[in-house]
Symmetry: C2
Subunit: 278 residues, 2 copies
């Protein structure tokens, strides 16, 4: 039996290998400086932090360690958002079995120290956010660990920080909404046909069609995010070649639905925990 | 810093992702029932056994655990031979730094109990060997753990078993010959240009050209193994498309240079230990 942490690491690997995953690095597509092998190394590097989450370490501490290990490759940020979802899911699976309720209990239980771990994690990696403007909020995540004193002064838990980031950040929406899209996509993977990699690609497209990607919205604006999501809806039952053409188009336009990939990895983890076979 | 075990797991992942690796599953090629995702799960599943090797567990015990974990996927044998090389290499790296001498010390130090662990590992997975004939030797590996009493009666260590299997088995040759090809290929990876996945594919072709693959010789005869090796020599500096055509040809003929892939993974591990970046 694979451990919960091993299932989480495998979910990261299956996520990046699923193809086509329009706009993302996958088994058949690289970006110039962010390539498949960076994701392989990121997944392996994250393992000690995932092991910590399974052993009952605080969420913020386990997350920071996972991100630090993930960052030991030259591609930059590979799986920050995935780990933000996976760490509480692993903790919930180890503590009391994986359900929307158990993971909600884990995230609601987070502390100010967990929020500090989350901010410190930003020191390890350049997450895809624009440069810090002069008038940036005292709790802007781009401040990394510099924001910790302010965080402590205000007494904000990691759950509070996520509640503040929702609804603009799709991962934060998962945190404060019972991981609704994660479990829905896991149902789809569990019920699906074909290899686990085909199902990973299908889950990605389903999630992208379901809702505009929040990373795309942040980087290219809400209109582009809506256009990408709407195009994904039209392709849900389209021939593989059409989806592949869409994937090539997004890579060419540097449009990267990263949040959708994050939720896909979380859904793969839930499916593996439920016994979906590889 | 990744642990030695993490480097070994990453070496397994980089090995299978390197492309083209003629005749093997790689980033762009599957066999009908043995696919990329099986190798991803095999690498993750092997990790506890690799961790044991790093912590100083006996080689046979760590190997058996690694193989048992590797086998928790539906593709069958994915990385048995890789692990036979990686386990003593990880142990050597953890014990006294990785050199031909340190790994030779580890393998020469193996016991009868290690040999028993090696035989028991065959119970976990169908390794690619033909059916057991009626007159098979009492120590035929296909007997798995049934051979252990005979092994103990004869007092054979795992090193003795490997010495018996060389020169027909290329992995056994590595064991008893200071991992010569492993370190030579690691030198080539270290000195090479391009991404680590390009270097992995180059190391594979170099090793295949260097010597006929022992798995191919066992399955298709020595003549075919020589032909494949000779064709690889001609392709060492050939355009990618020619190598890709060779890869497709080998898959079509069901010719799988598995031993060469095993040594490639071991060489990638040595290169990672030396600090080659991903």
């Amino acid at each position: 039996m694979r451990s919960h942490a091993a299932n989480a690491e495998l979910a990261l690997l299956l996520e990046v290998a699923g193809t086509p995953k329009p706009g993302n690095v996958d088994r058949h597509r690289d970006f110039p400086d962010l390539r498949f092998e960076h994701f392989l190394a990121g997944a392996v590097g994250a393992r000690p932090g995932l092991d910590d989450a399974e052993s009952g370490a605080p969420v913020g501490e386990a997350f920071e360690r996972a991100v630090a290990g993930m960052s030991e490759q030259s591609g930059g940020n590979t799986q920050f958002g995935c780990l933000l979802l996976l760490v509480p899911l692993v903790r919930a699976a180890a503590e009391r079995g994986l359900t929307p309720e158990s993971v909600t209990h884990v995230v609601e239980d987070t502390t100010v120290a967990d929020a500090a771990g989350f901010y410190r994690a930003f020191d390890h990696v350049a997450v895809a956010v624009p440069d810090l403007p002069d008038d940036a909020d005292a709790l802007d995540v781009r401040r990394g660990s510099d924001a910790v004193p302010e965080l402590e002064a205000r007494g904000l838990t990691l759950y509070d920080v996520m509640a503040e980031s929702a609804p603009a950040d799709g991962n934060a929406v998962e945190w404060v909404g019972g991981f609704e899209r994660t479990f829905a996509a896991a149902d789809r993977i569990e019920a699906g046909a074909g290899s686990i990699l085909d199902r990973a690609a299908d889950a990605f497209l389903y999630l992208l069609a379901d809702e505009p990607d929040s990373l795309v919205a942040g980087q290219h604006g809400r209109e582009v995010a809506r256009e990408v999501s709407s195009r994904a809806s039209e392709l849900l039952d389209a021939p593989d070649a059409d989806v592949a053409a869409f994937a090539d188009d997004l890579v060419a336009r540097d449009i990267n639905p990263g949040t959708t990939a994050d939720v896909t990895s979380a859904a793969l983890f839930v499916a593996l925990e439920r016994g979906v076979a590889v």
